[in-house]
Symmetry: C2
Subunit: 213 residues, 2 copies
């Protein structure tokens, strides 16, 4: 197909497609004349991946480039390619030693096999540090319930990643990771609403009686 058709089929504006070509994010088409080239399904798939990373993952182009390099490098295995994508999504940051130790303890208790310098570990330590600033620290028992819940959903997430092509796998992993985040948070609040109603039901009845009486 021509570049104009590629733009139309992908829903990506033509100037943006041309920009991705110039930047080398999208491989060149096959030249059919000095000024024309044709593109195929692989270009469509690549465009879809780029848009998922940019629109859903809110990634900057340098992070997108890093992921695409991992996708294209046949020496990089699928787990590491997906890992590169997840790493690009993770907010880094500076964690306290206490936060990092809490994370190491948790990883050990749950026997999770994760990279030594995993950015997900740093993100978790930074998130735990926020409690410190309020003079609170979640108990290990609480964190363990959270970790078990996280493992439950992660298992489902990972089981459904297609492994045929690195492009599909990365797109699915990134889109799934990002799109399910607000779902998980909204579900937690909805479940809190239910749990709070059950826990405070008796108190509610008492208060209602007192108010009416």
């Amino acid at each position: 197909m021509l570049i104009s058709e590629l733009a139309r089929s992908s829903g990506v504006p033509l100037p943006t497609v041309k920009y991705y070509l110039r930047e080398g994010l999208l491989p060149p088409g096959v030249a059919t004349s000095a000024t024309r080239a044709t593109y195929d399904e692989s270009h469509l798939r690549r465009l879809r991946l780029i848009r998922a990373l940019v629109d859903v993952g809110s990634l900057r182009l340098d992070a997108v480039r890093m992921i695409l390099e991992a996708v294209d490098d046949k020496g990089v295995d699928l787990h590491d390619t997906i890992g590169a994508a997840h790493t690009a999504l993770s907010p880094g940051g500076e964690a306290s030693q206490r936060g990092r130790q809490a994370v190491e303890g948790l990883v050990r208790r749950h026997r999770w096999r994760v990279e030594e310098g995993s950015r997900n570990k740093v993100a978790l330590a930074v998130a735990l540090d926020a409690f410190d600033r309020l003079g609170q620290q979640p108990a290990d028992e609480t964190l363990d319930v959270y970790a078990d819940a996280a493992a439950m959903v992660a298992k489902v997430d990972v089981a459904s990643v297609p492994t045929e092509t690195a492009e599909d796998a990365v797109e699915f992993a990134v889109v799934g990771t990002v799109l399910f985040e607000p779902v998980l948070l909204a579900l937690r609040r909805l479940a809190q609403e239910d749990a709070s109603g059950r826990r405070l039901a008796r108190r509610r009845v008492r208060t209602a009686r007192r108010t009416r009486g």
Copy 2:
């Protein structure tokens, strides 16, 4: 204590304390002269709650005011007070009918007791709508695993809320809800890293052999 001590003890800048007093978010102290008033522990606690809502919950002052009114209204029971605070945290939005139906189905399957017009339901429907735009929809089975995981952590969240005073309960509920969100998301990514490593381990060995061979 004097207003200057109140500012110092709470860590809230004096001009901000005065602003909260003018806006009626902080109740007036007991006047000891025409220009002086004294403040007590209840003012400190209220200031801490306001800061938690503003700093941790990123709430605007009109939302803070709404929550404080629920805290102060003895006719409102604790569950509804916490609910008012959670509602103020929830992003709201416009959900599609399909998204809303998916949420109703899920609430029914899990027998969650939630308010008819709960904003958490809307937030969930909006989150599900994001999949639609990519032409995907999570399967009910996937959502159910997510819901079960959410219920696990919600139970722990709610069980630890102190119920002595409405102020403590609301502060704890808001702070816990907000601060645990990045913890849960980071744990999920870390667990994905572990799950992905386990699932793709054999593939990794094969690839490594091919690469070295």
